[in-house]
Symmetry: C2
Subunit: 693 residues, 2 copies
């Protein structure tokens, strides 16, 4: 059965690549040519690729240092018991970074083609435009999930070792951390600067070609939302599979057995369901685009439930394990819907904040912050309940099963991740298409079409973001279980059996120290990223002011006068590259400091504190940011005086504050908590043998 399952996983991964390839061919098929679209489109494409190349260059240097460190001392110091294990770990780490980088690259490649196709299709009608946007996103979805399943399966077949899997996952996560941070800083630098100088100061529309930052803004959508998000979900997906496999291998006494098969089986079925969901997605004649996106997600969910139940019967897997995956999927959906409630412009919170904006920006901000804080409740309680539910459900199966259950719950939540990524990548593609339509002056009808597509993208984004945060939370809880497994394996190997652990007592001062320190890290991490955006955007605003002042005729829109788009792209690039390393490095170094000071017990507390405050801040920031964005859009739709009103000015300020919340700091926190957990697990052996207390 082992071989059958591994081969199935590989086969389905290959199918997903084929589907991705077919979709890519469809998206890239040459159609009508439009000079201005081509010109602007290639500017965007060039900017995105330049950024990505320079970012990867920096990350390659960082990874080289990491590889050297791994060779020297992870999992074991080379001068003690290390050696071959370290080499395998280093190779797994490199593979993880390469897969993750590739996911970002593929995403950029297709997104910067799909945006043009969508823009041109928008002149024909909403249905072909939707299809172009969605299929562009789906290429990304299929490629990311296929490669994560393929990578994990191959590694499992080649090494059969849990710690190596964590190394692979750490490679993916560390790259995702920096890619997410770098892309997030880039995109928000450009977005904020473009909005402030364009919408607020000059009163010109979004995407107006006179604005020097407008192309940088579109580049940002790609490098932040497409490449960054792809790396992020690749990493969550790999981490959830790895955590589950670590515990599965422990249950199977270190060999690849039934439990590992369950992991591969349910993950494969999830990918299969996503492929079918993607293949069947289209917009009905009377549907709106957000309905189309949601219904294909529901189709995927149903197919997963059905197929996984069948597999459970067929392979006689315990129903309790299947139940855990279902709990995860259900809770993920509920949390996604809760995020939707707080950010949807048809619901009370957005209406209230829009209403409050009439009294000035202070009330916009206060309203958004309050609802954002309130919105953490369903997420936190939901994650708590799914962890508790799957623990209790699987506990009767025996020792080791409760945490395996939690990890399967995370896996279940992420089973439909192929669909989630497709939906999520759809957003920036149609956002870009809207920009192209505006800049190439393709007409009001096309603008209306892309506006409708864009608005659906925003709604769905809230749901997928809630989902991604919940999945990361649950994954990291199961990584806590993986950490204990790793510590005990290392203790046995090092002959330190007396230092094996079963848990972390809050009353232990070491654990408590870890809890408080771990909780501070996400706050500092997000502060650093937000300050990066802040500094960078101020530089860019100065540059835009300079261009408006020094280029005659630009402000007035004299025909033929073009701003220097490239200078702005360059400022965003240089700034983002300067800011992307420190925050992530701080999180990693803090973990090492706590581990070497307080040892593995302090790390247990550290991880718990990090998860708690990371989830709290991620939910708070993502939801508050999404709420402000949609409150602005709600007013722009004509409510409370519409675009020219004071309420709109206030809402734009809210949106500007929300931008780095929801697109830089908030989503990077997912990756931050995952990276910290993985660092802890692969360093378990070192923390055990070298620590102050």
């Amino acid at each position: 059965m082992v071989t059958f399952m591994e081969i199935s996983a590989i086969a389905v991964s290959v199918v997903s690549f084929v589907v991705a390839g077919l979709l890519f061919a469809w998206v890239a098929k040459p159609g009508v040519k439009h000079d201005r679209i081509e010109m602007i489109g290639s500017l965007i494409c060039e900017g995105a690729n330049t950024f990505l190349r320079r970012e990867y260059l920096i990350l390659a240097r960082f990874s080289t240092v990491m590889v050297a460190l791994i060779l020297l001392c992870i999992p074991h110091p080379i001068w003690k018991t290390g050696g071959w294990e370290n080499v395998v770990m280093a190779l797994a780490y490199i593979a993880g970074t390469c897969f993750s980088a590739l996911a970002g690259k593929v995403g950029i490649q297709v997104a910067t083609i799909a945006n043009r196709k969508t823009a041109l299709a928008a002149t024909v009608g909403i249905r072909p435009a939707f299809l172009a946007g969605f299929r562009g996103g789906a290429v990304m979805g299929m490629a990311v999930v296929g490669s994560s399943l393929l990578g994990v399966t191959l590694l499992l077949m080649l090494t059969g070792d849990a710690t190596t899997l964590l190394g692979f996952s750490f490679g993916a996560s560390s790259l995702a951390l920096f890619a997410k941070a770098g892309g997030g800083i880039f995109t928000k630098t450009a977005d904020i600067s473009a909005d402030l100088t364009g919408k607020v100061e000059l009163g010109i529309p979004e995407d107006d070609p006179r604005n020097p930052a407008v192309i940088a803004d579109n580049v940002g959508d790609n490098v932040g939302d497409v490449a960054g998000m792809g790396a992020d979900l690749f990493d969550s997906n790999v981490a959830s599979m790895s955590a589950a496999l670590v515990m599965a291998l422990a249950l199977d006494n270190g060999i690849v057995g039934t439990h590992a098969m369950m992991v591969l089986c349910y993950a494969t079925i999830g990918l299969l369901a996503s492929i079918i969901g993607v293949g069947t997605a289209r917009m009905g004649r009377h549907e709106n685009p957000s309905h189309a996106l949601n219904s294909s997600t529901y189709v995927t969910t149903m197919i997963y439930l059905l197929l996984s139940a069948l597999a459970t019967i067929l392979f006689s897997f315990p129903w309790r394990i299947w139940g855990a995956t279902v709990i995860g999927l259900a809770v993920g959906t509920v949390i996604g819907l809760a995020s939707d409630y707080f950010t949807n412009d048809a619901k009370r919170p957005v209406h209230q904040v829009a209403l409050a904006s009439r009294n000035g920006p202070a009330f916009t901000i206060l309203g958004g912050l309050s609802y954002g804080l309130l919105s953490v409740l369903p997420g936190m309680v939901g994650i708590a309940l799914s962890a508790m539910g799957s623990y209790i459900l699987c506990a009767p199966l025996g020792t080791g099963y409760p945490f395996f259950g939690i990890s399967m719950s995370a896996l279940g939540m992420l089973s439909i991740v192929g669909m989630i990524i497709s939906n999520d990548a759809y957003g920036p593609i149609v956002d870009n298409a809207r920009g192209l339509v505006e800049m190439a002056a393709l007409g009001e009808t096309a603008l209306d079409v892309t506006d409708a597509l864009d608005s659906a993208g925003n709604t769905v984004k809230a749901i997928t973001k809630g989902f991604a945060i919940a999945a990361a939370g649950l994954t990291v809880i199961s990584l806590l279980g993986a950490f204990v497994t790793e510590v005990n394996a290392a203790a046995r190997q090092l002959g330190l059996e007396d230092r094996m652990i079963t848990g972390f007592d809050i009353m232990d001062p070491n654990v408590f120290f870890g809890l408080l320190t771990g909780a501070a890290v996400p706050a500092v991490f997000s502060a650093m990223l937000m300050m990066g955006v802040d500094r960078n955007a101020q530089r860019m605003v100065r540059e835009i002011h300079r261009q408006f002042k020094e280029i005659p005729g630009l402000k007035e829109g004299r025909p033929g006068v073009m701003p220097q788009y490239r200078t702005c792209i360059n400022i965003a690039t240089v700034g983002a590259l300067r800011e992307l390393i420190p925050a992530g490095l701080m999180a990693i170094l803090a973990t090492l400091a706590v581990g070497f000071i307080g040892g593995v017990t302090a790390i247990g507390g550290f991880l718990a504190g990090n998860i708690i405050s990371g989830l709290l801040l991620a939910l708070f920031m993502s939801n508050a940011g999404g709420l402000w964005d949609n409150a602005k859009k709600y007013i722009e739709s004509g409510k409370h005086g519409g675009r020219a009103s004071d309420a709109h000015k206030a809402a734009v300020i809210g949106d500007t504050v929300g931008d780095p919340f929801k697109d830089t700091a908030g989503p990077s926190l997912n990756t931050q908590i995952t990276v910290v957990s993985l660092v802890s697990s692969i360093m378990a052996s070192l923390f055990l043998s070298v620590s102050l207390f």
Copy 2:
């Protein structure tokens, strides 16, 4: 020795009352009469007393319900083993609420007299004005600390029972929770409305008598910052003594012995040091007021260190216990200074945010939020280190000592609380005095004097706030120890020895469930309070607009035309009273829900999660709020274009957002975490016998 120490505690408490009485007589001594000052002063006094009376009426009803519940089932259900114990608990609870209410009442009484004296003294010079303001605050400081020491000592002598002390403390805390929330909502409703309609819309100065909300704003300073804060620190002080006494009694096998004596001894010395510090405080000829406030704090600290070391020698107390109090005091000072760094207008963060304001309010907000998030680091790590330090320091003394050490560390941090309260109450008094000077048109020189005094009040406030948050954090950590003691005592009494606990394992799903849920509570709690302020302020802004529209000549400042001050006071009162119960009740009910669902282990996690996120949000909100306030003042001092500039408009918006952060939600979180801990401890027995899991 026991009797000697108890009598000393009572004697020093009495001395503090005498000092308070003398200072009160000095402040209340009739001086020059000034009709307009008298008229406005008595309006403020009347408004504050009306609010307090109506607030206490509501709280009396709430307390009646609580007393009934206590009689029925706390600490034990009356139909099982309860009876006399419940009556004692109820009496202790009532005593706690009465003492706390009295502290607020005394504070209001003296503050509304001292503000007039300070205003009139300001026409003479800064030194007499400083003295009037400071001595007014000191009455409050002496009364609050004296009564908390007296209450705890008397209760200990009468009952000798730890659980009863926790009931007393719970009485104080529950009242403080609602008083703080109610006062906080009142003060910020008035402050925000006055600022928005006055400063922003009309461009008239703060405290301009044409503004209908201006008296309500001054009333708010009294009911929020004086009465609320007094109740808050009374409660922290009682809670820290009670937590320490619970563990002391356990160490002394349930009787009042050496360890309880240590608690009383160090607490008494703290009060003595504060009395001397207050007595010697005055402004030197060439000093500035903030220097005078700080130097008297340092004097108090030195006297405490000296006297407590002498007592340690005299009574042969273990030096390690003394060391724990010193760690607490030192870390409290460091955290206070860190808060000062982030909020002082001579330091980088304020300068950066003021500079960013030139680019618009979005950057003001983003800068403040970023620095606020960054500022949690020293606080969280400081608390972690002091808990760990005192734990490790006292661990060699034997079982039970580590947590006793933490509680003594909290006690040490609060030893100079008399001085802290005096400094803190000084702030609203001189703020009020400034208002009186402006409204009664006492001239530019007097205005300059009160401006200087007010600015010192703001600087010192940041330090005392950091101190108060740190003290609450450490107290609550030691209450976690008290909770374990209570659970085990109850388990022994109920014959449930098999359910005794030594700690809380993070890997236990019950504990983890508690951690996540507990962490969500402070977020929801602060969201509810901020929404309360938001709703209320919007009502009040509408009323002010109405008055400006309907009262002819008001806007123009035609002589003899007066706004309807009382309507605004009434709106703030009614609104605050409507909003003050739900948030606090939510926190208490969440605790009960978690306790009855997951039992004592879930509560352990719940308390830890609550402490972590409560501290995080309290530090974040207090510091961000203080930073925005001072960035605005910094610009008003003429930087970046001064009062008329766009930077100032942006900074005012930042300040408005910061108001409920720093004066409503932030400081109420202290009390929220204390209340939740105390509820858990006194319900320990019930949670042990009745829970779902």
